[in-house]
């Protein structure tokens, strides 16, 4: 702490950073909470530091502090942020404005939301360079086109003329990286840049980002919750939890020899033992040659899809976004009547439309969604939410219903104390548990789980998967498990259907589907799942047989 002078080669030196925010809990006096507790870090020029941790760990908050930015009333209340030898926190508003977009640039998680829909891409890419006067328009555009090329975007000369909605998500993420690089900053903050992408697209974007960092010698803070991803791009990794430093070390040390228990838990997160069950003789639900489209469109979202689900077993449906996974769920539940084909449940054909199905059929098929918080009425208590299907399907009332609600809360490993809570008072994992309890309340034979763990932190998601497996043992319920995450599939499935552009390209028992020889798409999907291994990215890119669909 003695020398305030920066060491040569040191770009960013954050010392004892403390970040606070004021929260307004309902019915209580506002209180100040500390989000980041005295965290220090240093970053040399041209190096990449990975910040990793679950949500609420303070990773983004720390990342944004290097630009003097606090999201939604977050305040930096202590410590120093020394960038290029000066404490930026002393520079005031004007000082922040000068360094943002010039010395430090930011790449957001969802480029689709982070680009202004009203302006052409090129205008947005060169905006910061023009604003800070680091280049003329012609120079900046030339640089942008060169960057588009480097990031292997299609039509680099003309892609800048497009509007954000005319470009795919993976491409937008690369354009955003080009936007950050265009003003030739010293530091880029990557905030979960590949989290919102499909695995097959993620690998391309990751490779593009890695090359761009290497070739431009820019330093980077790479924020993510996925250790396998960060292991591919960083020189060092810092593990954070609840706004405190857990462990900081070289990438190899963190993933091979973690010293802290929490880091170890992150490293081994996906290892759930699940013994595959053999398919029975008669399926409980059969999807037979279903073809479906939205709004009478010519584009068929499902093309002649047939799958079977056996009692008490799990069928995992995998594929990237737009492959028709969720549409399959909608066709099964009757939300989207198929144009051709049928859904057979317990030996009888179900009505195509939701309104043609009796209440009993509705009860047998329940759904759990990705976004637990929007799937619940925010003005109802947990007790009301879980009690509703009990009233609706079984006519339970009063004490009988309350008793059953308590049992269900027990099953999802949440105590009685939660009955009177509102969804807003629960964590992400708890919300998803309540949704699970609500679907179980109907005593269904099949629960459709649509990306139920995608929005959760790895450790929390792991807990949910274990819970679902336990519940399957107890309740003998079958799952149709929709996901894009192959690690999840390995942990939970008995059989797997791989979907690609509305078709089932591979289908069978888990062991059969995951044993070579693979078809081209399954191979791409499997080889795109990041592995916790240094150098995996280069190997995977070199060994690929087909381009991903988002490219």
């Amino acid at each position: 702490m003695a020398d305030t002078k920066a060491k040569p080669g040191l770009l960013l030196d954050i010392r004892n950073l403390r970040i606070e925010a004021t929260v307004y809990p309902p019915g209580e006096a506002p209180k100040t909470i500390t989000l980041v507790h005295d965290v220090s870090l240093t970053l040399e020029k041209g190096k990449v530091l990975g910040l990793i941790g679950e949500s609420g760990a303070g990773k983004s908050t720390i990342g944004l502090s290097s630009m003097g930015y606090g999201r939604g009333g977050v305040r930096i209340t202590g410590g120093e942020v020394i960038l290029n030898g000066r404490d930026i926190l002393k520079g005031g508003k004007e000082g922040f404005r000068k360094l943002r977009g010039r010395e430090v640039c930011y790449v957001a998680q969802s480029a689709a939301a982070a680009f202004n829909p009203a302006h052409r891409l090129m205008d947005q890419v060169v905006e910061a360079s023009l604003l800070h006067g680091t280049a003329t328009r012609a120079e900046a555009e030339k640089r942008a086109v060169a960057l588009f090329k480097k990031l292997s975007l299609p039509n680099p000369e003309t892609i800048g003329e497009r509007f954000p909605h005319q470009v795919s998500g993976g491409q937008l993420q690369r354009v955003m990286t080009a936007m950050a690089l265009c003003s030739e900053p010293d530091l880029i903050v990557f905030d979960e840049p590949t989290t919102a992408l499909d695995v097959t697209t993620q690998i391309d974007v990751l490779a593009a980002i890695k090359d761009a960092i290497r070739d431009t010698h820019v330093a980077a803070l790479y924020i993510t919750h996925d250790l396998a991803v960060v292991a591919q791009v960083s020189d060092e990794i810092m593990v954070l939890r609840h706004g405190r430093l857990v462990e900081w070390g070289g990438t190899r040390q963190i993933i091979k020899e973690p010293r802290q228990e929490y880091t170890n838990a992150l490293v081994s997160v996906h290892e759930i033992e699940h013994r595959e069950q053999q398919p029975g003789t008669t399926p409980m639900l059969s999807v037979k040659n279903v073809t479906a489209a939205y709004g009478g469109s010519h584009v068929k979202v499902l093309k002649n899809v047939s799958v079977d689900i056996f009692p008490g077993q799990t069928l995992a449906v995998v594929g990237e976004s737009g492959s028709g996974k969720s549409t399959l769920a909608r066709a099964i539940t009757g939300l989207l009547p198929p144009e051709q084909g049928s859904v057979v449940f317990d030996g009888r054909t179900l009505g195509n439309k939701l309104s043609d199905r009796p209440k009993e059929d509705l009860r047998q098929l329940q759904m759990i969604y990705q976004m637990a918080d929007v799937a619940m009425n925010p003005r109802q208590t947990v007790g009301t939410i879980i009690g509703r299907p009990l009233e609706f399907y079984f006519g339970m009332k009063g004490r009988e219903r309350d008793k059953r609600v308590a049992e269900l809360l027990d099953e999802i490993e949440m105590g009685k104390g939660f009955v009177d809570r509102y969804p807003a008072e629960l964590s992400g994992g708890q919300k998803q548990r309540v949704c699970i309890a609500r679907s179980l309340a109907a005593k269904p034979k099949l629960i459709i789980c649509d990306e139920v763990t995608s929005a959760l932190d790895p450790l929390v998601a792991n807990g949910i998967l274990k819970l679902l497996l336990n519940l399957q043992q107890v309740e003998k319920v079958a799952y149709l498990f929709i996901t894009h995450d192959l690690a999840t599939v390995k942990s939970i499935a008995d059989s797997i259907a791989v979907m690609y552009r509305g078709e089932v390209v591979r289908y069978g028992s888990k062991s059969k589907v995951l044993t070579p020889p693979f078809d081209a798409y399954t191979d791409l999907l499997l080889s795109s799942v990041p592995e916790m291994e240094i150098g995996w990215l280069e190997k995977a890119i070199a060994g690929r047989r087909m381009e991903s669909a988002g490219n």
Partner: protein, 319 residues
């Protein structure tokens, strides 16, 4: 222009025409439901059953209502709005000048009010929740809360009686120069501006604030743009659709809702004309003015719809 826009715009226009037809039916039906008819109104106290029957025969009132409706509609479509009962003058001729006067007043009120409201809205967002924002919102709200006749008389008292800068009565006649006309309508235009200002300003503020939550606004801030540049370049273009809507709604009010202000300032516009003839129970005039007001309303709302469609880059530049 690309096909989805053309299709959407054509749909809106067709819908507008349909709506106008429906309104014309309503206006016609409404005036039929009223007790008494034109013949009774003309003859008044001196009506005998025989003279009434004669006049009805003469005016074609014995024909079924739907035939009279189509007759009226046909006249309207060819520019013949009928004759006023009270004066016997051709309605179309008397309306032409008055409509022009009303549009003139509305135009100048709009020229002042719309940019002012939007600028104030932008400023309010820039200094949101600070004293500037509260001052703008407070003053604008106060000016809207006062009824327009009160504002009108206040303006007359201050600017016409105390200081005699502007005339209290806005007489306009043929042969006036533009400058003279503008001076004549200064006070009613000011009154109208004050009435519509707050609504537009507050909606602009709300629409932009809504957009300020977006991730792309954060992106702009993280590029180092100043507060006002973020609002102007990144928030405003995405808030344009709701703003156009509220602007058009207020424009329609400027044309249709000026009745009270025109009466206060004795301005020879449509509002005055309407009020005069309502008191005289001159049904053909009321019908004609009602139809014109409806047409203005519908046209402006179609423009708002089209504006919102055109402002959407997803429709302007399809994939």
């Amino acid at each position: 222009m690309s096909s989805p826009i053309v299709k959407l715009v054509a749909q809106r226009i067709a819908l507008g025409i349909l709506l106008l037809l429906a309104v014309s039916v309503l206006i016609f039906a409404g005036t039929q439901i009223l007790p008494g008819d034109v013949a009774q109104a003309i003859l008044g106290q001196s009506a005998t059953p025989e003279s009434l029957a004669n006049l009805r025969e003469q005016l074609g009132l014995n024909q079924p209502a739907y035939i009279r409706y189509f007759h009226w509609l046909g006249g309207v479509l060819t520019g013949d709005l009928g004759t006023a009962m009270s004066s016997g003058q051709d309605i179309a001729t008397s309306i032409r000048e008055r409509l022009w006067n009303t549009l003139f007043l509305a135009f100048w009120a709009a020229i002042v009010a719309i940019p002012l409201a939007i600028t104030l809205g932008l400023i309010a967002v820039r200094y949101r929740n600070g004293w500037v924002d509260k001052l703008i919102s407070g003053v604008a709200l106060a000016s809207t809360s006062f009824p327009e006749f009160f504002i009108g008389y206040l303006l007359v008292f201050y600017f016409a009686v105390e200081h005699q800068w502007f005339p209290a009565i806005s007489t306009v006649y043929e042969g006036m120069s533009l400058g003279e006309r503008l001076q004549a309508i200064a006070l009613p235009a000011a009154a109208l501006t004050l009435v519509v200002l707050a609504h537009m300003m507050r909606m602009t503020r709300a629409a932009i604030l809504n957009v300020m939550q977006s991730a792309y606004v954060e992106t702009a801030e993280l590029k180092g743009l100043s507060g006002f540049a973020v609002i102007r370049k990144h928030a405003f273009p995405n808030a344009i659709a709701p703003i156009i809507n509220v602007v058009m709604l207020n424009l329609a009010y400027l044309v249709v809702g000026v009745v009270v202000v025109e009466v206060i300032f004795v301005y020879p516009g449509m509002g005055q004309y309407l009020v005069d003839h309502v008191t005289k129970r001159d049904v053909p005039v009321v019908q004609a003015v009602g139809l014109i007001f409806a047409a203005v309303y519908i046209t402006l709302n179609i423009i708002a719809d089209i504006g919102a469609i055109v402002a959407n880059p997803r429709l302007r530049h399809p994939k």
